[in-house]
Amino acid sequence: MSNGELTHDEAFVELENVALIYGRGQTQVQALTETRLKIGRGDFVALVGPSGCGKSTILKLVTGLLKASSGYVYVSGREVGAEPMRVGMAFQNPTLLPWKTIRDNVMLPLKIVPPFRQQFHRKKKTEFRDRVEALLAQVGLAGFGDKYPWQLSGGMMQRASLCRALIHDPQLLMLDEPFGALDQFTREELWAIMQDLWMTRKPTVLLVTHDLKEAGFLANRICVMQARPGRIIDDTEVPFARPRSIEMTYAPDFVTMTQRLRELIIANRPQKEAA
Protein backbone atom coordinates (compact mmCIF):
# COMPACT_ATOMS: atom_id res chain seq x y z
CA MET A 1 0.00 0.00 0.00
CA SER A 2 1.51 3.30 -1.08
CA ASN A 3 -1.43 5.53 -0.32
CA GLY A 4 0.03 7.26 2.69
CA GLU A 5 3.49 7.78 1.31
CA LEU A 6 2.86 11.09 -0.45
CA THR A 7 2.27 14.19 1.63
CA HIS A 8 -0.21 16.86 0.56
CA ASP A 9 2.59 18.96 -0.92
CA GLU A 10 4.12 16.18 -2.98
CA ALA A 11 0.91 14.93 -4.55
CA PHE A 12 0.18 16.37 -7.99
CA VAL A 13 -3.37 15.05 -7.98
CA GLU A 14 -5.19 14.51 -4.72
CA LEU A 15 -8.73 13.35 -4.02
CA GLU A 16 -9.73 13.93 -0.41
CA ASN A 17 -12.80 12.11 0.86
CA VAL A 18 -14.60 12.63 -2.40
CA ALA A 19 -18.21 11.57 -2.88
CA LEU A 20 -20.31 12.03 -5.98
CA ILE A 21 -24.05 11.59 -6.32
CA TYR A 22 -25.81 11.63 -9.70
CA GLY A 23 -29.43 12.75 -10.01
CA ARG A 24 -31.75 13.52 -7.14
CA GLY A 25 -34.66 12.04 -5.22
CA GLN A 26 -35.70 8.47 -6.06
CA THR A 27 -33.36 8.06 -9.01
CA GLN A 28 -30.29 9.22 -7.09
CA VAL A 29 -27.16 7.12 -7.60
CA GLN A 30 -24.12 7.21 -5.37
CA ALA A 31 -21.32 6.95 -7.92
CA LEU A 32 -18.41 7.48 -5.56
CA THR A 33 -17.97 7.44 -1.81
CA GLU A 34 -15.07 8.18 0.56
CA THR A 35 -12.58 8.19 -2.27
CA ARG A 36 -9.00 9.07 -1.41
CA LEU A 37 -6.26 9.03 -4.00
CA LYS A 38 -2.88 10.70 -4.28
CA ILE A 39 -0.82 10.71 -7.43
CA GLY A 40 2.74 12.04 -7.59
CA ARG A 41 3.97 14.21 -10.46
CA GLY A 42 4.95 12.09 -13.46
CA ASP A 43 3.41 8.92 -12.04
CA PHE A 44 1.37 6.41 -14.05
CA VAL A 45 -1.68 5.13 -12.19
CA ALA A 46 -4.26 2.64 -13.46
CA LEU A 47 -7.83 2.37 -12.16
CA VAL A 48 -9.36 -1.08 -12.57
CA GLY A 49 -12.67 -2.52 -11.46
CA PRO A 50 -16.05 -3.82 -12.61
CA SER A 51 -18.14 -1.68 -14.93
CA GLY A 52 -20.15 1.02 -13.22
CA CYS A 53 -17.67 1.43 -10.35
CA GLY A 54 -17.00 5.09 -11.06
CA LYS A 55 -13.63 4.83 -12.81
CA SER A 56 -14.55 7.32 -15.52
CA THR A 57 -16.19 9.50 -12.87
CA ILE A 58 -12.79 9.92 -11.20
CA LEU A 59 -11.29 11.03 -14.53
CA LYS A 60 -14.03 13.60 -14.97
CA LEU A 61 -13.55 14.88 -11.43
CA VAL A 62 -9.81 15.32 -11.90
CA THR A 63 -10.27 17.18 -15.20
CA GLY A 64 -13.00 19.36 -13.73
CA LEU A 65 -15.73 18.09 -16.09
CA LEU A 66 -17.68 17.04 -12.98
CA LYS A 67 -17.85 18.64 -9.57
CA ALA A 68 -17.64 16.54 -6.40
CA SER A 69 -20.80 16.43 -4.27
CA SER A 70 -18.56 16.51 -1.18
CA GLY A 71 -14.85 16.37 -0.48
CA TYR A 72 -12.04 18.05 -2.41
CA VAL A 73 -10.11 17.48 -5.60
CA TYR A 74 -6.70 19.16 -5.75
CA VAL A 75 -4.44 19.40 -8.75
CA SER A 76 -0.99 20.87 -8.26
CA GLY A 77 -1.92 21.99 -4.73
CA ARG A 78 -4.94 24.04 -5.81
CA GLU A 79 -8.56 23.04 -6.01
CA VAL A 80 -9.39 21.78 -9.50
CA GLY A 81 -10.66 24.51 -11.82
CA ALA A 82 -8.99 27.26 -9.79
CA GLU A 83 -6.36 27.84 -12.42
CA PRO A 84 -5.89 26.68 -16.00
CA MET A 85 -4.03 23.41 -16.35
CA ARG A 86 -3.05 21.54 -19.47
CA VAL A 87 -4.93 18.26 -19.74
CA GLY A 88 -4.91 15.67 -22.50
CA MET A 89 -7.65 13.10 -22.90
CA ALA A 90 -8.14 9.97 -25.00
CA PHE A 91 -11.22 7.79 -25.09
CA GLN A 92 -12.17 4.30 -26.26
CA ASN A 93 -13.62 5.97 -29.34
CA PRO A 94 -10.87 7.96 -31.12
CA THR A 95 -13.24 10.97 -31.53
CA LEU A 96 -11.19 12.49 -34.36
CA LEU A 97 -12.89 15.21 -36.42
CA PRO A 98 -13.79 13.55 -39.74
CA TRP A 99 -13.47 16.76 -41.78
CA LYS A 100 -9.88 17.44 -40.72
CA THR A 101 -6.71 15.65 -41.78
CA ILE A 102 -4.78 13.68 -39.18
CA ARG A 103 -2.27 16.55 -38.94
CA ASP A 104 -4.99 19.13 -38.29
CA ASN A 105 -6.69 16.82 -35.83
CA VAL A 106 -3.52 16.40 -33.83
CA MET A 107 -2.93 20.15 -34.01
CA LEU A 108 -6.34 21.01 -32.55
CA PRO A 109 -5.16 21.50 -28.92
CA LEU A 110 -2.49 23.95 -30.13
CA LYS A 111 -5.28 26.00 -31.65
CA ILE A 112 -7.22 26.12 -28.37
CA VAL A 113 -4.80 26.00 -25.45
CA PRO A 114 -2.75 29.01 -24.35
CA PRO A 115 0.11 29.89 -24.82
CA PHE A 116 0.07 28.02 -28.17
CA ARG A 117 -3.24 29.60 -29.10
CA GLN A 118 -1.74 33.07 -29.49
CA GLN A 119 1.07 31.76 -31.72
CA PHE A 120 -1.09 29.43 -33.76
CA HIS A 121 -1.44 31.49 -36.92
CA ARG A 122 2.25 32.33 -36.99
CA LYS A 123 3.58 28.83 -36.34
CA LYS A 124 1.03 26.40 -37.74
CA LYS A 125 2.95 25.96 -40.98
CA THR A 126 6.41 25.79 -39.39
CA GLU A 127 7.19 24.95 -35.80
CA PHE A 128 3.83 23.39 -34.89
CA ARG A 129 3.79 21.36 -38.06
CA ASP A 130 7.22 19.91 -37.29
CA ARG A 131 6.11 19.20 -33.77
CA VAL A 132 3.09 17.24 -35.03
CA GLU A 133 5.18 15.33 -37.59
CA ALA A 134 7.71 14.35 -34.92
CA LEU A 135 5.00 13.03 -32.63
CA LEU A 136 3.27 11.17 -35.47
CA ALA A 137 6.61 9.59 -36.36
CA GLN A 138 7.10 8.48 -32.77
CA VAL A 139 3.83 6.52 -32.82
CA GLY A 140 4.52 5.04 -36.26
CA LEU A 141 2.27 7.36 -38.27
CA ALA A 142 5.01 9.14 -40.25
CA GLY A 143 3.61 10.21 -43.62
CA PHE A 144 -0.03 9.87 -42.59
CA GLY A 145 -0.52 13.56 -41.74
CA ASP A 146 -2.43 14.31 -44.95
CA LYS A 147 -4.81 11.39 -44.61
CA TYR A 148 -8.32 11.71 -43.24
CA PRO A 149 -9.42 9.69 -40.19
CA TRP A 150 -11.69 7.44 -42.22
CA GLN A 151 -8.73 6.39 -44.35
CA LEU A 152 -7.01 4.83 -41.32
CA SER A 153 -7.59 1.59 -39.39
CA GLY A 154 -8.92 1.61 -35.82
CA GLY A 155 -5.46 1.17 -34.33
CA MET A 156 -4.03 4.01 -36.41
CA MET A 157 -6.88 6.35 -35.44
CA GLN A 158 -6.23 5.52 -31.79
CA ARG A 159 -2.54 6.39 -32.25
CA ALA A 160 -3.56 9.73 -33.73
CA SER A 161 -5.92 10.24 -30.80
CA LEU A 162 -3.00 9.66 -28.38
CA CYS A 163 -0.97 12.21 -30.33
CA ARG A 164 -3.78 14.74 -30.00
CA ALA A 165 -3.88 14.10 -26.26
CA LEU A 166 -0.13 14.75 -25.95
CA ILE A 167 0.71 17.45 -28.52
CA HIS A 168 0.30 20.36 -26.10
CA ASP A 169 2.59 18.72 -23.49
CA PRO A 170 -0.16 18.22 -20.92
CA GLN A 171 0.76 17.97 -17.27
CA LEU A 172 -2.05 15.49 -16.88
CA LEU A 173 -3.01 12.72 -19.30
CA MET A 174 -6.38 11.03 -18.90
CA LEU A 175 -6.88 7.72 -20.68
CA ASP A 176 -10.41 6.31 -20.61
CA GLU A 177 -10.04 2.74 -21.93
CA PRO A 178 -8.28 3.96 -25.07
CA PHE A 179 -7.27 0.45 -26.16
CA GLY A 180 -10.57 -1.24 -25.27
CA ALA A 181 -12.00 -1.51 -28.78
CA LEU A 182 -8.84 -2.86 -30.45
CA ASP A 183 -7.85 -6.43 -31.25
CA GLN A 184 -5.27 -8.16 -29.06
CA PHE A 185 -2.23 -7.63 -31.31
CA THR A 186 -2.95 -3.99 -32.07
CA ARG A 187 -3.57 -3.39 -28.39
CA GLU A 188 -0.19 -4.86 -27.38
CA GLU A 189 1.51 -2.75 -30.05
CA LEU A 190 -0.13 0.36 -28.66
CA TRP A 191 0.84 -0.53 -25.08
CA ALA A 192 4.48 -0.43 -26.16
CA ILE A 193 3.92 2.91 -27.90
CA MET A 194 2.16 4.32 -24.86
CA GLN A 195 5.01 3.20 -22.61
CA ASP A 196 7.49 4.85 -24.93
CA LEU A 197 5.49 8.09 -24.95
CA TRP A 198 5.27 8.12 -21.18
CA MET A 199 8.98 7.41 -20.71
CA THR A 200 10.05 10.19 -23.08
CA ARG A 201 7.55 12.84 -21.91
CA LYS A 202 6.70 11.89 -18.34
CA PRO A 203 3.19 13.30 -18.03
CA THR A 204 1.13 12.30 -15.00
CA VAL A 205 -1.16 9.58 -16.32
CA LEU A 206 -4.44 8.25 -15.03
CA LEU A 207 -5.55 5.19 -17.01
CA VAL A 208 -8.98 3.62 -16.72
CA THR A 209 -9.17 0.04 -17.97
CA HIS A 210 -10.91 -3.32 -17.61
CA ASP A 211 -7.79 -5.16 -18.63
CA LEU A 212 -5.53 -6.20 -15.73
CA LYS A 213 -2.71 -7.16 -18.08
CA GLU A 214 -2.84 -3.69 -19.62
CA ALA A 215 -2.82 -2.06 -16.18
CA GLY A 216 0.15 -4.20 -15.11
CA PHE A 217 2.10 -3.54 -18.30
CA LEU A 218 1.64 0.23 -18.32
CA ALA A 219 1.12 1.51 -14.80
CA ASN A 220 3.38 2.16 -11.81
CA ARG A 221 0.43 1.72 -9.48
CA ILE A 222 -2.85 -0.11 -9.82
CA CYS A 223 -5.88 1.02 -7.84
CA VAL A 224 -8.71 -1.52 -7.59
CA MET A 225 -12.22 -0.16 -7.32
CA GLN A 226 -15.42 -1.59 -6.00
CA ALA A 227 -18.85 -0.83 -7.46
CA ARG A 228 -22.05 0.55 -5.91
CA PRO A 229 -20.97 2.70 -4.27
CA GLY A 230 -17.68 3.17 -6.06
CA ARG A 231 -14.56 3.38 -3.93
CA ILE A 232 -10.90 2.44 -4.06
CA ILE A 233 -10.27 -0.76 -2.10
CA ASP A 234 -6.69 -1.61 -3.01
CA ASP A 235 -3.58 0.20 -4.18
CA THR A 236 -0.70 -1.91 -5.49
CA GLU A 237 2.77 -0.93 -6.71
CA VAL A 238 3.83 -2.60 -9.93
CA PRO A 239 7.49 -3.47 -9.28
CA PHE A 240 8.62 -4.50 -12.77
CA ALA A 241 11.52 -2.64 -14.40
CA ARG A 242 11.07 -0.53 -17.58
CA PRO A 243 11.03 -0.72 -20.44
CA ARG A 244 8.64 -3.61 -20.02
CA SER A 245 8.02 -6.17 -22.74
CA ILE A 246 4.96 -8.24 -23.68
CA GLU A 247 6.95 -11.37 -22.70
CA MET A 248 7.10 -10.00 -19.17
CA THR A 249 3.33 -10.31 -18.91
CA TYR A 250 3.74 -14.09 -19.05
CA ALA A 251 6.33 -14.22 -16.22
CA PRO A 252 5.12 -16.02 -13.07
CA ASP A 253 5.46 -12.90 -10.86
CA PHE A 254 3.31 -10.87 -13.22
CA VAL A 255 0.69 -13.58 -13.51
CA THR A 256 0.57 -13.93 -9.72
CA MET A 257 -0.03 -10.19 -9.42
CA THR A 258 -2.85 -10.02 -11.96
CA GLN A 259 -4.34 -13.19 -10.48
CA ARG A 260 -4.49 -11.55 -7.04
CA LEU A 261 -6.12 -8.41 -8.45
CA ARG A 262 -8.64 -10.46 -10.34
CA GLU A 263 -9.68 -12.36 -7.21
CA LEU A 264 -9.93 -9.09 -5.33
CA ILE A 265 -12.31 -7.65 -7.89
CA ILE A 266 -14.46 -10.77 -8.00
CA ALA A 267 -14.62 -11.03 -4.20
CA ASN A 268 -15.86 -7.45 -3.95
CA ARG A 269 -18.56 -7.57 -6.57
CA PRO A 270 -21.98 -6.37 -5.34
CA GLN A 271 -23.94 -9.22 -3.73
CA LYS A 272 -26.73 -9.50 -6.29
CA GLU A 273 -24.24 -10.09 -9.08
CA ALA A 274 -22.01 -12.50 -7.17
CA ALA A 275 -23.91 -15.57 -8.39
Binding site: I112, Y148, L152
Partner: protein, 257 residues
Amino acid sequence: MNPQLRRRIASAALIIGFFLLWEFLCRAFNISDLVVPKPSQVIVTLWERAPALWPHTLQTLYTTLLGFGLGIVIGVLLGMLVGVSKIAYDVAYPLLIGFASIPKVAVVPIFVLWFGAGAVPAVLTAMIMSMFPIVVNVATGLATTEPELEDVMKTLRASKLDILWNVGLPRAMPYFFASLKVAVTLAFVGVVLSETVASNRGIGNVMMIASSSFDVPLVFAGLIILAVMGVSLYVIFSLIEMRVTGWAHRKDEFAIG
Protein backbone atom coordinates in the same frame (compact mmCIF):
# COMPACT_ATOMS: atom_id res chain seq x y z
CA MET B 1 -18.96 2.05 -70.17
CA ASN B 2 -18.95 2.88 -66.48
CA PRO B 3 -22.14 2.47 -64.45
CA GLN B 4 -22.43 6.19 -63.69
CA LEU B 5 -22.39 7.20 -67.35
CA ARG B 6 -24.88 4.46 -68.15
CA ARG B 7 -27.18 5.79 -65.43
CA ARG B 8 -26.96 9.32 -66.83
CA ILE B 9 -27.73 8.20 -70.35
CA ALA B 10 -30.71 6.23 -69.06
CA SER B 11 -31.99 9.31 -67.17
CA ALA B 12 -31.67 11.51 -70.25
CA ALA B 13 -33.39 8.89 -72.38
CA LEU B 14 -36.27 8.73 -69.90
CA ILE B 15 -36.77 12.49 -70.01
CA ILE B 16 -36.69 12.63 -73.82
CA GLY B 17 -38.95 9.56 -73.93
CA PHE B 18 -41.43 11.31 -71.65
CA PHE B 19 -41.79 14.27 -74.01
CA LEU B 20 -41.95 12.03 -77.09
CA LEU B 21 -44.72 9.98 -75.50
CA TRP B 22 -46.57 13.17 -74.58
CA GLU B 23 -46.29 14.43 -78.18
CA PHE B 24 -47.38 11.05 -79.52
CA LEU B 25 -50.43 10.78 -77.24
CA CYS B 26 -51.55 14.34 -78.10
CA ARG B 27 -51.39 13.56 -81.79
CA ALA B 28 -52.81 10.04 -81.55
CA PHE B 29 -55.89 11.10 -79.57
CA ASN B 30 -56.13 14.50 -81.24
CA ILE B 31 -56.22 16.34 -77.93
CA SER B 32 -57.21 19.98 -78.05
CA ASP B 33 -54.59 22.69 -77.39
CA LEU B 34 -56.94 24.12 -74.81
CA VAL B 35 -56.54 20.99 -72.65
CA VAL B 36 -52.94 19.80 -73.15
CA PRO B 37 -50.76 21.43 -75.81
CA LYS B 38 -48.16 19.38 -77.65
CA PRO B 39 -44.55 19.75 -76.45
CA SER B 40 -43.54 20.93 -79.94
CA GLN B 41 -46.10 23.68 -79.65
CA VAL B 42 -44.84 24.64 -76.19
CA ILE B 43 -41.29 24.91 -77.54
CA VAL B 44 -42.46 27.12 -80.41
CA THR B 45 -44.31 29.35 -77.91
CA LEU B 46 -41.19 29.52 -75.74
CA TRP B 47 -39.13 30.60 -78.75
CA GLU B 48 -41.60 33.14 -80.08
CA ARG B 49 -42.43 34.70 -76.73
CA ALA B 50 -38.87 34.60 -75.36
CA PRO B 51 -38.35 38.41 -75.45
CA ALA B 52 -41.53 38.90 -73.43
CA LEU B 53 -40.89 35.99 -71.06
CA TRP B 54 -37.25 36.82 -70.31
CA PRO B 55 -37.82 39.79 -67.91
CA HIS B 56 -40.40 37.75 -65.98
CA THR B 57 -37.98 34.84 -65.72
CA LEU B 58 -35.28 37.13 -64.38
CA GLN B 59 -37.76 38.66 -61.95
CA THR B 60 -38.73 35.26 -60.58
CA LEU B 61 -35.10 34.12 -60.35
CA TYR B 62 -34.00 37.30 -58.64
CA THR B 63 -36.86 37.24 -56.15
CA THR B 64 -36.19 33.58 -55.39
CA LEU B 65 -32.48 34.10 -54.76
CA LEU B 66 -33.11 37.17 -52.61
CA GLY B 67 -35.70 35.34 -50.50
CA PHE B 68 -33.49 32.28 -50.34
CA GLY B 69 -30.49 34.36 -49.25
CA LEU B 70 -32.50 35.95 -46.44
CA GLY B 71 -33.82 32.51 -45.53
CA ILE B 72 -30.26 31.19 -45.22
CA VAL B 73 -29.08 34.05 -43.01
CA ILE B 74 -32.05 33.95 -40.67
CA GLY B 75 -32.30 30.15 -40.80
CA VAL B 76 -28.65 29.65 -39.83
CA LEU B 77 -28.85 32.20 -37.01
CA LEU B 78 -32.05 30.69 -35.61
CA GLY B 79 -30.66 27.17 -36.07
CA MET B 80 -27.53 28.09 -34.12
CA LEU B 81 -29.60 29.66 -31.38
CA VAL B 82 -31.76 26.56 -31.06
CA GLY B 83 -28.94 24.04 -31.53
CA VAL B 84 -26.28 25.31 -29.12
CA SER B 85 -27.94 23.89 -26.05
CA LYS B 86 -29.86 20.68 -25.54
CA ILE B 87 -32.51 22.51 -23.52
CA ALA B 88 -33.14 25.18 -26.15
CA TYR B 89 -33.45 22.41 -28.74
CA ASP B 90 -36.00 20.41 -26.72
CA VAL B 91 -37.99 23.53 -25.80
CA ALA B 92 -38.08 25.17 -29.24
CA TYR B 93 -38.59 22.07 -31.38
CA PRO B 94 -42.41 21.79 -31.00
CA LEU B 95 -42.88 25.47 -31.87
CA LEU B 96 -40.63 25.11 -34.92
CA ILE B 97 -42.52 22.09 -36.15
CA GLY B 98 -45.75 24.00 -35.60
CA PHE B 99 -44.59 26.92 -37.73
CA ALA B 100 -43.08 24.65 -40.35
CA SER B 101 -46.33 22.75 -40.83
CA ILE B 102 -48.48 25.84 -41.54
CA PRO B 103 -49.39 25.78 -45.26
CA LYS B 104 -47.39 28.76 -46.52
CA VAL B 105 -50.04 29.75 -49.03
CA ALA B 106 -51.97 30.95 -46.00
CA VAL B 107 -49.36 33.57 -45.10
CA VAL B 108 -49.25 35.22 -48.54
CA PRO B 109 -52.46 37.26 -47.96
CA ILE B 110 -51.00 38.48 -44.66
CA PHE B 111 -47.83 39.69 -46.38
CA VAL B 112 -49.89 41.36 -49.08
CA LEU B 113 -51.93 43.05 -46.37
CA TRP B 114 -48.76 44.36 -44.72
CA PHE B 115 -46.60 45.24 -47.70
CA GLY B 116 -48.97 45.48 -50.68
CA ALA B 117 -48.78 43.43 -53.87
CA GLY B 118 -45.45 43.06 -55.72
CA ALA B 119 -41.98 41.71 -55.06
CA VAL B 120 -41.89 42.15 -51.26
CA PRO B 121 -44.47 39.48 -50.36
CA ALA B 122 -42.79 37.15 -52.88
CA VAL B 123 -39.39 37.60 -51.25
CA LEU B 124 -40.86 37.14 -47.78
CA THR B 125 -42.80 34.02 -48.76
CA ALA B 126 -39.65 32.55 -50.28
CA MET B 127 -37.74 33.39 -47.11
CA ILE B 128 -40.34 31.86 -44.78
CA MET B 129 -40.60 28.69 -46.85
CA SER B 130 -36.89 28.13 -47.26
CA MET B 131 -36.05 29.02 -43.67
CA PHE B 132 -37.56 26.09 -41.80
CA PRO B 133 -35.64 23.18 -43.30
CA ILE B 134 -32.44 25.18 -42.69
CA VAL B 135 -33.30 25.96 -39.06
CA VAL B 136 -34.26 22.36 -38.30
CA ASN B 137 -31.20 20.87 -40.00
CA VAL B 138 -28.64 23.27 -38.54
CA ALA B 139 -30.13 22.82 -35.08
CA THR B 140 -30.12 19.04 -35.44
CA GLY B 141 -26.52 19.01 -36.66
CA LEU B 142 -25.41 21.09 -33.70
CA ALA B 143 -27.49 19.28 -31.11
CA THR B 144 -26.28 15.82 -32.08
CA THR B 145 -22.57 16.55 -31.57
CA GLU B 146 -20.99 13.58 -29.78
CA PRO B 147 -20.64 14.31 -26.04
CA GLU B 148 -17.12 12.82 -26.04
CA LEU B 149 -16.04 15.33 -28.67
CA GLU B 150 -17.30 18.09 -26.42
CA ASP B 151 -15.46 16.55 -23.45
CA VAL B 152 -12.22 16.65 -25.46
CA MET B 153 -12.79 20.35 -26.11
CA LYS B 154 -13.85 21.10 -22.54
CA THR B 155 -10.74 19.47 -21.06
CA LEU B 156 -8.76 21.81 -23.33
CA ARG B 157 -10.68 24.66 -21.69
CA ALA B 158 -12.22 25.63 -25.00
CA SER B 159 -14.87 28.34 -24.80
CA LYS B 160 -18.40 27.81 -26.06
CA LEU B 161 -17.44 29.80 -29.13
CA ASP B 162 -14.34 27.63 -29.75
CA ILE B 163 -16.49 24.50 -29.57
CA LEU B 164 -19.11 25.99 -31.89
CA TRP B 165 -16.49 27.12 -34.41
CA ASN B 166 -14.24 24.04 -34.40
CA VAL B 167 -16.71 21.23 -33.79
CA GLY B 168 -20.35 22.29 -33.90
CA LEU B 169 -20.52 24.24 -37.15
CA PRO B 170 -18.29 21.96 -39.31
CA ARG B 171 -20.27 18.99 -38.01
CA ALA B 172 -23.53 20.72 -38.93
CA MET B 173 -22.31 21.51 -42.48
CA PRO B 174 -23.59 18.32 -44.15
CA TYR B 175 -26.99 18.89 -42.52
CA PHE B 176 -26.93 22.52 -43.66
CA PHE B 177 -26.08 21.75 -47.28
CA ALA B 178 -28.55 18.90 -47.43
CA SER B 179 -31.21 21.40 -46.36
CA LEU B 180 -30.14 23.96 -49.00
CA LYS B 181 -31.15 21.69 -51.87
CA VAL B 182 -34.61 21.35 -50.38
CA ALA B 183 -34.80 24.98 -49.28
CA VAL B 184 -33.97 26.48 -52.69
CA THR B 185 -36.77 24.47 -54.28
CA LEU B 186 -39.16 25.66 -51.58
CA ALA B 187 -38.08 29.29 -52.05
CA PHE B 188 -38.98 28.90 -55.68
CA VAL B 189 -42.39 27.49 -54.85
CA GLY B 190 -42.94 30.40 -52.47
CA VAL B 191 -42.14 33.02 -55.08
CA VAL B 192 -44.36 31.52 -57.76
CA LEU B 193 -47.15 31.14 -55.24
CA SER B 194 -46.94 34.76 -54.22
CA GLU B 195 -46.62 35.98 -57.82
CA THR B 196 -49.72 34.03 -58.74
CA VAL B 197 -51.74 35.58 -55.93
CA ALA B 198 -50.50 39.14 -55.85
CA SER B 199 -48.03 40.54 -58.35
CA ASN B 200 -47.88 42.02 -61.83
CA ARG B 201 -44.50 40.53 -62.70
CA GLY B 202 -42.84 37.13 -62.68
CA ILE B 203 -43.53 33.76 -64.23
CA GLY B 204 -46.28 33.01 -61.72
CA ASN B 205 -48.12 36.12 -62.85
CA VAL B 206 -47.56 35.30 -66.53
CA MET B 207 -49.12 31.86 -66.02
CA MET B 208 -52.04 33.35 -64.14
CA ILE B 209 -52.82 35.83 -66.93
CA ALA B 210 -52.23 33.25 -69.67
CA SER B 211 -54.65 30.79 -68.06
CA SER B 212 -57.37 33.43 -67.69
CA SER B 213 -57.10 34.17 -71.43
CA PHE B 214 -56.96 30.43 -72.29
CA ASP B 215 -53.47 30.76 -73.73
CA VAL B 216 -52.70 27.20 -72.62
CA PRO B 217 -49.39 26.79 -74.55
CA LEU B 218 -48.06 29.84 -72.68
CA VAL B 219 -49.12 28.34 -69.34
CA PHE B 220 -47.13 25.22 -70.18
CA ALA B 221 -44.21 27.31 -71.39
CA GLY B 222 -44.16 28.95 -67.94
CA LEU B 223 -44.26 25.51 -66.37
CA ILE B 224 -41.23 24.42 -68.42
CA ILE B 225 -39.30 27.55 -67.43
CA LEU B 226 -40.08 26.89 -63.76
CA ALA B 227 -39.02 23.26 -64.06
CA VAL B 228 -35.73 24.14 -65.73
CA MET B 229 -34.92 26.83 -63.17
CA GLY B 230 -35.87 24.59 -60.25
CA VAL B 231 -33.75 21.70 -61.48
CA SER B 232 -30.79 24.02 -62.20
CA LEU B 233 -30.85 25.50 -58.70
CA TYR B 234 -31.13 22.02 -57.18
CA VAL B 235 -28.17 20.80 -59.23
CA ILE B 236 -26.04 23.83 -58.36
CA PHE B 237 -26.58 23.33 -54.63
CA SER B 238 -26.02 19.57 -54.89
CA LEU B 239 -22.65 20.25 -56.53
CA ILE B 240 -21.69 22.76 -53.84
CA GLU B 241 -22.74 20.22 -51.22
CA MET B 242 -20.53 17.51 -52.70
CA ARG B 243 -17.53 19.83 -52.82
CA VAL B 244 -17.84 21.24 -49.34
CA THR B 245 -18.88 18.18 -47.37
CA GLY B 246 -17.18 15.40 -49.27
CA TRP B 247 -15.91 13.95 -45.99
CA ALA B 248 -19.45 13.00 -45.03
CA HIS B 249 -20.01 11.05 -48.27
CA ARG B 250 -16.84 8.98 -48.10
CA LYS B 251 -16.54 5.56 -49.60
CA ASP B 252 -15.31 2.60 -47.59
CA GLU B 253 -13.01 1.41 -50.35
CA PHE B 254 -10.61 4.25 -49.59
CA ALA B 255 -9.86 2.86 -46.14
CA ILE B 256 -6.49 1.23 -45.54
CA GLY B 257 -6.67 -2.15 -43.81
